[in-house]
Amino acid sequence: MIGQSLADLMQGFGVALQPANLMWSFFGVLVGNLIGVLPGMGALSAISMLLPLTYTMHPVPAILMLAGIFYGSQYGGAIGAILLNLPCHPPHAVTCLDGYPLAQQGRGGTALGITMISSFFAASVGILVMILASPLLVRVAFSFGPAEIFSIMLLGLIAGSTMSRGSPLKGVAMTVIGLIIGVAGTDVNTGTQRFTLGLTEIDDGVEPLALALGLFGVAEFLRSVNRIQEVGSATRMRLRDMRPSGADLRRAFLPMLRGTAIGTLFGAMPGTGPTITTFIAYALERRLAKDPSRFGHGAIEGVAAPEAASHSKTQVDFIPTMSLGIPGDPVMALILGALLIQGIQPGPQLITEHADLFWGLIASFWIGNVLLMVLNVPLIGIWVKLLQVPYRFLFPSALFFIGVGVFSTDNNLFNIWEVLAFGVFGAVFSALDFSVAPILLGFVLGPLVEENFRRALLLSHGDLMVFVQRPISAGFVAASALLVVVQLMLRMRADRGLKIS
């Protein structure tokens, strides 16, 4: 089985290294990277813009180019998250937490370097897992029903809500606000509209991109406008700060490994989405850290782990996407749409009937990641220089691109109002020293928790025991309970300690 896979992979490298294919792959990576850097423009806008170009192309280069755009823009998005606090893709919100403080301390180049190394390492591991374990991954995918997804999301919600800096109570409060925002829209079970304020635009819920960009980027801009001089001067930097030092690399190494492992695990579970993956990776690092208070103030581990997690998750996710025809997120859905237009039906037959495409794609992932690395080592200096653009030019142009980006998600002006509203909201709450990241966590996980909870109960005809009778689900429920108990015990011990002293 593995021998066959390796032989197929060799053939795949042959396909991906053909000059024409390589050129399209490079083109995709380059364009994706450049678009991804623009604030507000993520993989989704990049792919939807360039999708029509692929209709007239041969399927293999078309898909290689789209895949290139995909990971190119994913990496590009990390640049915006770190340098400008602008997550164009909700999973990147976690990268902002420590990436942006690093950039403010003039160590943006270090953060970008670590991001690049972590992404490349995690993607390579993800690719290896795809090759070695794809039949196993498909089997794992099928053992995750609604009950299991509910339980794992519950764990994520509990682990994630207390991870931000500051008071855990504030973190929980923000998570609850996120849950409430996540409730808005059409109820999946009954079709009833909830909290839509009578606006058709909210029928499908709040736009995640608008929420992420508003709470992070726009809120940050709003808070900085009165102190532009201050903010501008903090970002001056020296050239030698642009490369990660040996100490940084050592510090980031284990978090990168753990992040990769988490991403790989979640990659095997379709329907979990990338956001929970990065939040869990971050929460884990914060819990394992000797000094958790560094997190949120520029801890390099807080950049390495989530970036590694999101990249390995993305790679491993390709197995359910391609072999089951089940997209993990809207970007994957778009790539599947592109395959359909090419007359290729994703599904169990794809790997056998279009072996050149499938293995060529896998090989091109790796080649593309190498290209990304080669491309970005010299570019880091240029990206970081972006910050030396005076803020009176940078802020307005970033806001312009944010507007374009959210508008282009579904060609709707309403989204721009959403960004603005969440920007004001985020600015107010961060001024009051609330961390906004848990809002995003609640917003992304809330609907998944509710949907899968109700679905599991529908399927069990109302029997709550389903969550503890199924072994995987029972395991996650137990872990959630344990987490709450440990949290309470630590609290109590701390209180007692205070009293004694």
Binding site: Y55, F142, E201, L334, G347, D410, L459
Partner: protein, 330 residues
């Protein structure tokens, strides 16, 4: 094997489209004749879905026939309501067209208060194609035919669970129509995406669903699911070995069709020109052959006939929605 020929057919169409886009000088047309500037096709669905795919496959052909650009614009959201309201607000001059599907005819009953009403605010231009669905069950269910499934459902009312991609979607409506026409009671389990529903059928979490034949083809062939029947009145081109549901439940038909409408007020002459051109395109042998392999049968009707078809479809689904007690929206 099906897939290989399908690719060939589709690729030919695309290659033809490519030459059209890039090379050949376009025939000159008299000034003032429709269309003398680019036409926008509003797709009220997300990119990548069948409404989007066929709009984008149709556009280059229209472009060649009319020597004008046809631009596809996605305005997804609220189960087509947002794009429909957007298209309604456009000028009724024939330069804005809208792709519609049976989502629209179902929504007409589900959202009686929507500011855009299909038959009041739009005129029928032309149908494009129609695609059957396939009824599949989890392999461990035990029913091999539609009659066995009906017997099973009658023995235990409400016990069988069917998945769909949400209330009011074509997959859900196909199930409700089946319940009503076969006289059985089954539990509806909605999902946000058909792909999530699909994985739960394959994994055996839920008993059955109606789904697209091209998507399910590979899973049926590899025995991951059992294909019971297709939902058109005649056998499907994609799954010719399966009977139709109508063979067991006479008169049962639940297909996904696509068509084109325009804001009310567009001159009849423009409607007629568009109708004959679209009909000519979908009847082209290479187009028809490629679409059939994708499970879509070209549909041709005059504007008047298409309007009758829409009225009848709205009435059909209104009955199903009312009997099924699907919660109506705002």
């Amino acid at each position: 094997m099906v897939s290989a020929t399908m690719t060939g057919g589709r690729r030919q169409v695309l290659r033809a489209a490519a030459t059209m886009l890039t090379g050949i000088a376009l025939p000159a047309r008299a000034a003032g004749a429709y269309p003398d500037r680019p036409v926008t096709i509003v797709v009220p669905f997300a990119a990548g879905g069948s409404g989007d795919v066929y709009a984008r496959l149709l556009a280059p052909h229209l472009q060649q026939e009319f020597a004008q650009s046809f631009i596809v614009e996605n305005h997804p959201g609220a189960g087509s309501l947002i794009g429909t309201q957007f298209a309604k607000a456009a000028a009724a001059d024939g330069y804005t067209l809208m792709i519609i599907s049976n989502t629209h005819t179902v929504n007409d009953t589900l959202f009686p208060k929507s500011s855009a009403r299909l038959m009041r605010d739009f005129v029928a231009v032309a149908p494009i194609n129609s695609a059957d669905l396939v009824l599949v069950t989890r392999p461990t269910l035990g029913a091999r035919t539609v009659s066995e499934l009906i017997a099973m459902a009658k023995a235990k009312p409400g016990a069988l669970r069917f998945a769909s991609s949400g209330p009011g979607t074509p997959y859900h409506m196909a199930g409700e129509l089946f319940k009503q026409m076969a006289g059985v009671d089954m539990l509806h389990v909605p999902y946000k995406l058909s792909s999530a529903a699909r994985i739960d059928v394959i994994a055996g979490q839920v008993d059955m669903m109606f789904d697209a034949p091209t998507t399910m083809d590979g899973f049926i062939k590899s025995d991951k699911v059992i294909g019971l029947a297709t939902t058109g009145l005649k056998k499907s081109d994609v799954l010719p070995d399966l009977p139709t549901v109508a063979e067991s439940v006479p008169g049962y038909e639940a297909v996904i069709w696509l068509g084109v409408m325009a804001p009310k007020g567009v001159p009849d002459a423009v409607i007629d020109t568009l109708n004959t051109t679209i009909a000519r395109i979908v009847r082209q042998p290479d187009v028809a052959a490629a679409w059939r392999l994708q499970g879509a049968d070209p549909l041709v009707m005059s504007p008047a006939k298409f309007k009758e078809f829409l009225d009848a479809d709205i009435a059909k689904w209104a009955r199903v929605v009312k009997l099924a007690d699907v919660r109506p929206g705002q």
